[in-house]
Symmetry: C2
Subunit: 401 residues, 2 copies
Amino acid sequence: MRQSATQLPLASRATGLVGSVIDSSTSLLARQEHDVVSFAMGSPAAEAVPTDVLGEINAAVLARHDAYLYAATEGDPALRSAVLAMLDGTGEATTEERLTITSGGMQGIDLACKLFVDPGDLVVVESPTYTNGSATVMSYGGEVLEAPMDDDGLVVELLPDLVARAGRTPTAIYTIPNFQNPSGTTLSLRRREALLEIAREWGAMIIDDDPYGLLRFAGDEVAGLRELSDGDPLVFSVRTFSKLLAPGLRVGWVDAAPELGQLLINAKQAMDTCTNLPAQRLVAAFLDGGHLADHLARLRPEYRARKEAMQDALAEHLGDVATWTDPDGGFFLWVTLPDDVDTQQLFPAALAEGVAYIPGSSFSPGGRFPNTLRLCFASTTPARTDVGIRRLRRAIDAARG
Amino acid sequence: MRQSATQLPLASRATGLVGSVIDSSTSLLARQEHDVVSFAMGSPAAEAVPTDVLGEINAAVLARHDAYLYAATEGDPALRSAVLAMLDGTGEATTEERLTITSGGMQGIDLACKLFVDPGDLVVVESPTYTNGSATVMSYGGEVLEAPMDDDGLVVELLPDLVARAGRTPTAIYTIPNFQNPSGTTLSLRRREALLEIAREWGAMIIDDDPYGLLRFAGDEVAGLRELSDGDPLVFSVRTFSKLLAPGLRVGWVDAAPELGQLLINAKQAMDTCTNLPAQRLVAAFLDGGHLADHLARLRPEYRARKEAMQDALAEHLGDVATWTDPDGGFFLWVTLPDDVDTQQLFPAALAEGVAYIPGSSFSPGGRFPNTLRLCFASTTPARTDVGIRRLRRAIDAARG
């Protein structure tokens, strides 16, 4: 006799997780045949991973017996030192006692929510926002408040009114300040300062999620929330090597107030004990070997070229029906189609045509933006991108009759 | 102006995490100098890791560009197939749709708690229990109910009374049926059947955590809860390669009702997106290469010899003041000292003598068992074990004046 999941003693939040995540697309796409042009996953290009260098390093790293044992929960000393050295002299410079190594940026968000989000707590998120960011808030019973964005990122000046209408101050504000996922926009300096001010007024944590900051290929750098806050304990900074180096390694870090250090260790032990040690040693050796600067110097123009190729393809094939963003870095374009196109409904037809994307409504807990979609330009070559955008046009035309 | 953590908007559960985990010891010990004999971490011996085989496999696995990208959330197809093949024909045989690859067994527990534990829910745990198991329950706001154990494991027949006194039925029962951590005891067949019966009566999930089952070195196998339950959706089985192969890889799996599959994907995406892909490929190739059987055949007599060496050392140096368990597998001895010894207080003195362990009270959310301690016999050679137990004796003698 088969029971359904709802006959099991599910936590109230568990059912809230259903459909809140882009699982069906990502899991589907992980198994896709080669002919589908996938703009869906926010992943570096396979050819952008420095496999040769990593392979050489690995041979040395993995010959050591102790590379396979438990790591310290806060991170392997070798990687902790390498990250501190990497950040030294930059706006992100930090100290030993503020640093926790994580299993990718995703675990940084999980840690923030575990420490700060009680059931019923209000958490401000950008609208649209990173799906797994808002899903994690909800996985701790938090309630998300979607706040509008414009070309300068989160419209901070609207927050007081929004929060007043919600009837309670938020416990946290989740933001991706640089080349936001999915919109590609960057939070302006003025708004960053305003955000810090309002967070202090409310006593709310800022979950400062910045996976793409080092992947700027145009425009001027904007000082980060971490730097502007001058170590304010309300700023909880989540960083990752997933986009800089390789997502499959699942290595990132959190830069947070020293007084949170022990709580972070406790919380991480209740998640995965420690982060994969061979991967930590690998990233440490990659950094210590001085490979990151060269690697980023190669990636930036390549990603700019890929973005421009995608914009060119959009102009050629969708110029009459769509608009799109123009990010200064990162991985994503945000495309707006005519009001009569529902990109969630369009998805199966697009996949049948041989192209994949993430529907815009996936980035809004309230299902906003039905006529938008997110395209990752980073993982496909210009030629493949052109093929994919042509296919997208065919799917749209078919859908509109 | 420095804020303290408690001035930050901490979730109610976060403060509950303080001190609930053995962080101070493990993190401390991960940094210990070589001369401390550590019986603390539940880790395989460094020399038990087949580094040569893993190194060879790694060279092939990591040459592939796609080994560094995102994996499917439910696990890389290569590892999923290898795990199914490994379990085929055993009492643990399972199917594709019941399987989720996890970042170690710890994430399996985290997934179970995320899906089943609402704030205020009652969860039965063994007393003593695995610290990070109960800590994870509490990290979702669950309340743990400590249930007594004897030489046959959890005393299932006492549960109805305990639960009646608690005034509500539990949402889950967390058990480590084989060579329990920390006590070393194995749940008898009769009690396993009784546990399944009572879980069905209550509609409670059984979190069946079995990291050590394949490391039996004496006595007869007892049919597992997974096997006895015949696929009952109330049994959520957590497994890991940490003790079988290498903990630093952070690779495990969950065997659960197919109707939970999508929820597990959603929940895992809100934790770490996917498990480290090189590690998944490495374990898959290790299994496909037929190395596990040989490896376990080497480990079992070695661990038996280490257990016996530790028992011999205890008899020689602590025979007049202590008693200890006699497990048929796994990693741990549970040692009981005279009532006047508080092993938490003893710890700094022991460390100063050059020996480390985990105080027994760490394994009880209520701080029971103050005069006990857990010793891991797996990670030290017989000669080092003898040195360590001598040092422990000196620390005890000094403490007792």
